[in-house]
């Protein structure tokens, strides 16, 4: 069975960009971080450290931008709808997600057959994504503690003393990297395992047809073929888009007839 339709409204363009920046910064940070940890490739330590610090700032600024976006931009509260709400609301507990933590876990543990109906972000997803921002800031803090050991800024020496010295800080920073790596493994796996649609949306802003979700009744009401095949049921398209999609369908069918 199909997923909900993947509409651009779920991840508006600015979020697609922050996600790209996140991905690129994270990959550069991991590769340069590994080089700093143990310089397997000789000759590039200076470059690695330069890139590491540069993308550290990029990552932090990007994270701040994403958080600000949550309050200024609007996005869809669920997949399968073009309705918009302030983005931060899609990060808070939603009616659509009530009592669904276990539903999701049991789905992924094969303890239930059916896909839970949920908001754009399922409960575990929401929790984990929400933890990413603090984790980025925490990693940045530990990184800055290692960056300017001699500047002696009280805010950094305080934390370094707290964890018992720079060695522990390094190990903590290093562990943070592995937390990101593990997160990425799971994140990439889950976003690809049921089909490429989520990834094509977040990376290429490309929509894919799917079930239509009505945020008012919080259930599925139709199927949006996005002009490729007939729609079905109540799809809540605005009339202009519906007309365009219908025209596209008619055209395709006519073409098929012609080919006959």
């Amino acid at each position: 069975m199909a997923h909900l339709a993947h509409y651009r409204e779920a991840h508006p363009l600015p979020m697609v960009i922050t996600h790209w920046v996140n991905l690129i910064a994270m990959i550069v940070l991991i590769l340069s971080g590994l080089e700093i940890h143990y310089p397997l490739v000789p000759g590039v330590m200076g470059i690695a450290r330069g890139l590491h610090m540069f993308f550290a700032f990029v990552l932090v600024v990007n994270c701040v931008v994403r958080i600000v976006l949550a309050f200024v931009a609007k996005s869809a509260p669920a997949g399968g709808t073009r309705r918009l709400v302030r983005d931060y609301k899609t990060w808070l507990p939603q009616r659509d997600n009530k009592h669904q933590l276990w539903a999701w876990i049991s789905y992924y543990l094969f303890l239930r057959r059916e896909h839970p109906i949920a908001a754009k972000l399922g409960v575990p997803q929401k929790i984990v994504y929400l933890l990413i921002a603090p984790l980025i800031f925490f990693t940045a803090y530990t990184g800055f503690c290692l960056w300017g050991p001699t500047m002696g800024w009280p805010i950094f020496t305080w934390g370094t003393q707290l964890v018992g010295g720079a060695m522990n800080m390094r190990v903590i920073h290093y562990f943070c990297m592995w937390v990101f790596i593990i997160f990425m493994c799971i994140h990439v796996y889950l976003s690809l395992v049921e089909g490429a649609s989520p990834a094509t949306l977040i990376f290429f802003w490309k929509e894919t047809p799917g079930l239509v979700y009505d945020p008012d009744t919080m259930n599925i009401t139709g199927f949006d073929g996005m002009g490729k095949e007939p729609d079905y049921g109540e799809t809540f398209k605005d009339p202009v888009r519906a007309a365009a999609d219908a025209a596209a369908v008619a055209e395709r069918e006519a073409a098929r007839e012609g080919a006959e």
């Binding site: 330590m45 109906i117 001699t150 010295g165 190990v171 919080m218």
Partner: protein, 478 residues
């Protein structure tokens, strides 16, 4: 003339002469001292003069040197083999009354000297070695007295206590796992015992005697202790890392490393980072003061920094040994009971485990037929169904109707842009028109059912749009 005569042959100068040091050597050393005290080297002559006058006037600062749980290495570092050097001579001239190791006196007469010094007051204490507290302090006895008692008694009347060497700072080697002696540093011990005396920590294994002399000279000349950092170390000495001032730092930045001892890179004097050099995490001025009369120091001599200056004065478990072993690995080992392991082992192991679990999970998803768009949706949320919410039931009924309609038409929904027709199930193939008609029919009957949601109007409009005259909709089968 007379004055010159006098300074020229001061007690200190005579001593230096005896050991073959020229006045130039002495002034050079005073310049170094100035540097360590945070003064310009132009202050060298004043320091020299002050030292000589201090020595001349018999203004000897009494210093009581105590040995705790130590290997005497710090004392050895001060006396440095065959001949004393300038710092030692200076120290001997301006200070040093009681030392268990160095003193000519021994036994009771030595203890007597200590008591008298304490009574007279106005003295400094240098404490070498850890403070072992196991068995209520009975683990270390000196002249029948507990080492901890001696420290307490001596520290109480002191103007300041200098914890010399990493063991004295936080327990060092003594406090390293398994720490049977329950060792700790002077600062922690005194604060636990409620003795309120300033403690200056001078770390390293052993501590460089030049740093000790600098602190004592500053105290004798200025009457104040040097400015301390948050580990109670002299800030002018211990606020920069070894890595900051290392002569191999250029190689570090260029990415020129020694990966193996005995290699060509080692011969070239490249950076020792991959061999576990702890220089980047270690705060000490070794590359600047250097060792053994400024001859050389660990990294210069080809050994990765072992991080012996790392101290955590209030936390003996943070001693430099546990923080930095294995010395030749980039990170320290973690210990759980008797097992120790590298952070990389745990982290990479966990990651491999996660990937393996995901692999198994992926196979499960394949078997469950979920890879192709996920499992079918539930018609109603389980919690709603269980809690009997009318609105949820209604929405679920409509969703179920939708799924039933699609089944009837033999349509399988696909995200990839197509309704797939389920020929195999022997079902009738649906056409766009049939689908639209069905949708319209349902929308109309819902409208008749008077549950007038605005969305349904839209659905009806949509159905209208879809039902248009395409008489021969079904193309050829492929």
């Amino acid at each position: 003339m007379a004055v010159r005569e006098q300074t020229g042959t001061s007690r200190l100068q005579r001593k230096l002469d005896q050991h073959g040091f020229t006045r130039r050597d002495f002034l050079k050393y005073c310049g170094c001292l100035a540097g360590m005290m945070g003064l310009s080297s132009l202050a060298a002559p004043q320091i020299a003069e002050a030292l000589e006058i201090g020595a001349e006037e018999g203004g000897l600062k009494p210093v009581i040197w105590l040995e705790g749980g130590s290997c005497t290495g710090c004392t050895e570092a001060l006396t440095q083999g065959t001949t004393p050097d300038i710092p030692q001579l200076v120290l001997e001239t301006i200070a040093l009354n009681y030392s268990e190791t160095l003193s000519a006196a021994a036994g009771h007469s030595l203890e007597q000297a200590r008591r008298e010094t304490i009574e007279a007051g106005g003295y400094l204490v240098v404490y070498e070695g850890a403070v072992p507290t196991a068995y209520d302090g009975n683990i270390l006895l000196v002249a029948g007295e507990k080492g901890t008692d001696i420290l307490l008694e001596t520290a109480k009347g002191a103007e300041a206590v200098i914890a010399l060497g990493s063991c004295a700072c936080d327990g060092g080697w003594m406090a390293a796992r398994p720490d049977d002696a329950q060792a700790m540093g002077v600062q922690r011990f005194l604060s636990e015992q409620g003795v309120d005396v300033p403690v200056v920590n001078i770390p390293c294994c052993p501590a460089n005697p030049e740093w000790l002399t600098a602190v004592i000279v500053e105290y004798v000349l200025n009457g104040t202790l040097p400015e301390l950092n948050d580990r109670n170390e002299p800030a002018a000495l211990f606020n920069q890392t070894v890595h900051d001032n290392c002569p191999r730092r250029g190689h570090f930045e260029n990415g020129e490393f020694v990966y193996e001892f005995g290699s060509e890179e080692e011969a070239k004097g490249y950076c020792l980072y991959p061999l576990g050099c702890k220089g980047p995490q270690t705060y000490a001025p070794c590359p600047i003061t250097r060792w053994n009369r400024s001859l050389s120091w660990c990294v210069e001599a080809g050994a990765p920094c072992a991080g012996c200056a790392v101290i955590n004065p209030m936390n003996p478990q943070g001693n430099w040994v546990d923080e930095n072993t294995p010395f030749l690995d980039r990170h320290k080992d973690f210990a759980v009971g008797p097992i120790s392991f590298q952070p990389t082992t745990v982290a990479a192991g966990l990651t491999v485990l996660v990937v393996a679990v995901l692999g198994v999970h992926c196979a499960g998803m394949k078997l469950a037929g979920r890879m192709d768009g996920g499992a079918d949706f539930e018609a109603e949320r389980r919690w709603d169904a269980r809690h009997d919410k009318p609105a949820a039931h209604e929405a679920a009924a409509r969703a179920q109707q939708l799924y039933d309609d699609l089944d009837e038409l033999g349509l399988e929904l696909k995200n990839t842009g197509a309704h797939r027709k389920r020929d195999a199930a022997g079902r009738k193939k649906a056409t766009a028109v049939e689908v639209a008609a069905k949708a319209q029919g349902r929308a109309a009957s819902d409208n008749a059912g008077a549950s007038a949601a605005p969305a349904e109007d839209a659905a009806a409009d949509l159905a209208d749009l879809l039902v248009r005259p395409t008489d021969e909709p079904e193309g050829g089968d492929k």
